[in-house]
Symmetry: C2
Subunit: 500 residues, 2 copies
């Protein structure tokens, strides 16, 4: 009885924190999409006020005591126990952080971001290096405050991928390298290229916007619980499960990228819209991890919207919209939408074959930075050597090299692995649902996505954070995280594409 009352009281406190997060999400969406320029300073004050209110609640000592008392209590249901587990994890990560470190970290990030922008413009990593040194030192201190016994980098990874460790990631990335480096070299050397000038034909933004909305709708995105806008950076945000907003952007001479970016964000949005609304204000309903989140966007973007069945159905429709595709065959279209740009230096522009190698080298650099075996000053050389070793290219500038990503300037160490975990989970999930839905390809080729969506909703979205990641993966796919489905999928796809 007392436990029940405590649990209910805790849920009220957690709901308040969730609500503050939703409000913050709305303010951020507004800032990216509709806010007038001159409102930036006051928006900063508004977000800071919410952050203080949230921090007070999230580190409340009484909440911590109540969560500790509830943790593992036999009277709680599975969902309730998971809710307490997630909330206690949040509480420990936040409450264990000394206020002084919170402040110094916040200041150092603002400072580092400004310096990074300048260093990138000046193409000079040395300008950024001192700020990065300070962030690395503070990051170690933060990690030690949360868990003094774990490697610092593990503590950061854990923020995005609960339970994931370098001990598991390193062999995964090594396996990917062992497969991808020689496979990409083979594709480059033996593959047949095709002319794809049509991929750069300029398309008016208004037409692209209509096409993007068409596909977002076809995927099953609910406009009753979200909206689609244009912003500089595509993202999925908003204010909770009933208000999931996505943004997209359009390049006149890159209609494929714009279309796929919209589909990618819609994949994220379907995860958020598919969460359990009855638990929406509790941590247990949250998306499980960044990697699982990325798996949902990648699955729709790669396994579905870059697949033959999908374009069997939609290419005739798209030709009706974009007359320059009249002479592009299905095979030609599939080649154009999947081809590898072997000279690409930029992670965000990478295809699904080279992307994991961009991530691998960042993973290796971050790991060495945080365990102390790599000096910040040596990052550019290590970066360029890895690019040459993994991808056969060397960046001609630091702006296109070690200064290209925003992540380190924001202190977001440990985030990169989630991109590739997402690709692995996506392939594994796709293999599993192809077993469960034997006619999936025919359905996609008929323009039907309902069964696919229902499967994802049932196996992933509704589960939220009830199951820890390994259990969620096993319950959805019958196996723990495994790189082999990704390797099989890419081998099959790119062998066919390049006629190997």
């Amino acid at each position: 009885m007392e436990i029940r009352a405590t649990y209910n009281e805790v849920c009220g406190k957690l709901a308040e924190i969730t609500t503050l997060d939703e409000i913050t999400g709305l303010l951020q969406w507004d800032q990216e999409v509709v806010m007038p320029r001159g409102a930036a300073p006051s928006r900063g004050r508004q977000c800071a006020t919410l952050a203080v209110l949230r921090h007070q609640r999230a580190t409340d000592a009484r909440l911590g005591e109540q969560l500790e008392a509830l943790h593992g209590h036999p009277e709680l249901s599975q969902v309730e126990a998971a809710n307490v587990r997630e909330a206690l994890r949040d509480w420990r990560r936040e409450a264990r952080m000394p206020a002084d470190l919170v402040r110094r970290w916040g200041e150092a990030k603002v400072q580092a971001h400004e310096v990074w922008v300048d260093a990138r413009a000046a193409d000079d990593f040395a300008l950024f290096a001192p700020a990065l040194v300070e962030l690395v030192e503070l990051a170690k201190a933060r990690a030690a405050a949360i868990d003094p016994d774990a490697p610092a980098y593990d503590v950061f990874i854990d923020a995005f991928e609960p339970g994931m460790t370098t001990a598991r990631l390193t062999p995964l990335f090594d396996r990917l390298k062992d497969f991808l480096v020689p496979f990409i070299a083979r594709v480059r050397a033996d593959g047949m290229d095709q002319p794809c000038a049509w991929t750069h034909t300029p398309i008016p933004v208004a037409d692209q916007t209509e096409v993007a909305r068409h596909f977002i709708t076809a995927l099953g995105y609910s406009f009753d619980h979200g909206r689609v806008d244009t912003a500089v950076h595509p993202f999925c945000g908003g204010a909770g499960v009933t208000d999931v907003r996505i943004t997209t952007r359009y390049k006149e001479d890159g209609f494929l990228g714009s279309m796929l970016a919209a589909i990618h964000e819609a994949g994220h949005a379907l995860y958020e819209q598919g969460r359990d609304a009855s638990l929406a204000d509790q941590p247990v309903s949250r998306a499980r991890s960044m990697g699982i989140h990325e798996s949902q966007s990648i699955l729709w973007e790669q396994q579905i919207a870059r697949s033959r069945p999908f374009w069997q159905h939609w290419l005739p429709w798209l030709r009706g919209r974009y007359s320059h595709l009249a002479d592009v065959s299905l095979d030609g279209f599939l080649f154009g939408i999947n081809r590898v740009d072997f000279n690409n230096l930029i992670r965000v522009d990478a295809d699904e074959l080279t992307y994991p190698l961009h991530v691998t080298m960042r993973y290796e650099i971050e790991r060495e930075l945080l365990n102390g075996s790599l000096e910040v000053a040596d990052v550019p050389d290590v970066w360029n050597a890895a690019m040459q070793r993994y991808l056969g290219v060397t960046p001609p500038s630091q702006a296109d090299g070690a200064l290209q990503d925003i992540h380190w300037s924001m202190g977001a160490f440990g985030y990169f692995p989630s991109y590739t975990l997402g690709a692995l989970y996506a392939a594994q999930i796709h293999a599993s649902l192809s077993r469960d839905l034997p006619d999936l390809d025919s359905q996609i080729a008929a323009g039907e996505t309902e069964a696919l969506r229902a499967w994802l909703r049932d196996k992933i979205h509704l589960k939220g954070s009830i199951l820890e990641t390994d259990l969620l993966c096993a319950s959805a796919t019958g196996a723990p995280l495994d790189p082999e489905p990704f390797i099989q999928y890419t081998t099959r796809k790119y062998s066919a594409l390049y006629g190997l």
Copy 2:
């Protein structure tokens, strides 16, 4: 020294409350303009959470003690003293309200609003009456909690017009009645009407939108600190002095009304954008009262955008946009934009001559309801009798009669007078600035609004709430609130218009 520290601490607390209000403002704007329909329930939860947080801070006992200690302290500057005065006024109004009454009032308003919607649809005041009876009783209890010595209605008026009382308002409204009722009768009987079919010529919404943005820009509205959107209800809102957003709406066959509504909201927005940014997070920077706010929208809408000089400049431009105006003369246009619709029953559609009478009768009904001399059940009869007496028409239905306004269903007793106070202040301010800027008409006729805007900014906007309303009015116009400038202005304008 100690007072200084206390004052600074208080300012921090007040800034937090202001910031919460800004965030709430953004959530409300979002809800009206861009929020997906299905997000309504979660938006309700978000607003309620902010309201609770705000209430806790606004009624904090220590804040009250500090404000009492600061109140009237000789070491405070004029601005600081005014800030304390405003904050203490807020604190008293909110902290003196028993929690039980807050809850019952909130519930009764939600209930009454639903009932009002139904009663209006059914055209049956009797359906609404019990809910209104309850609201009136609760309103009396609220007023008594705030100030047991003042008439209940005065306490409600004071929420929108600090310092205003029925003792001052009744003679004002009587003076207006004494002038307007016979004057309108004379206009109706002796005035010359003109055909105005062109006012209903359909104009595509896209064209009207461009025209509205043109005028909003010409008035000096800053798009760097605001934005203009379409919404069901035109309003001015947003998230503080650097983020002042207005909405407008367009009727295809009513381009004049749409244009003037946009200008009206821009007038409100200029007030908000013109506030003292260095004090933006303190109560002292706030717009002085609803009546002063309305004066700023009315001045731009009526004294400027319905004036001959304004259209001397802009009518040729508008003819270039709206070809159906080619044959409409300046005199004809001015008649069409100012003419009185003697059969109009609806306050929000009323012209500036009949509008004050719509307000007067509501003022009289509210006053009698709250002082107990009028029963709710008698409202429809009193309403219709007043309509006949003041405006010479009797509503054929209750939906167009005593059920037409949303205000009572929201418990917003005491709000109506602000509309007419705004019209009086606008005329008085316009008379004063016409003395200070002798060539104002020539400037307006040259399309120049800068000197006018600078005058308003200096005399009204920047002043915020530093001066109490009477002092603000006297410092801007040289005299306390006076209905005569309005009477002179309307006499002059409508005599010319109708050839009396």
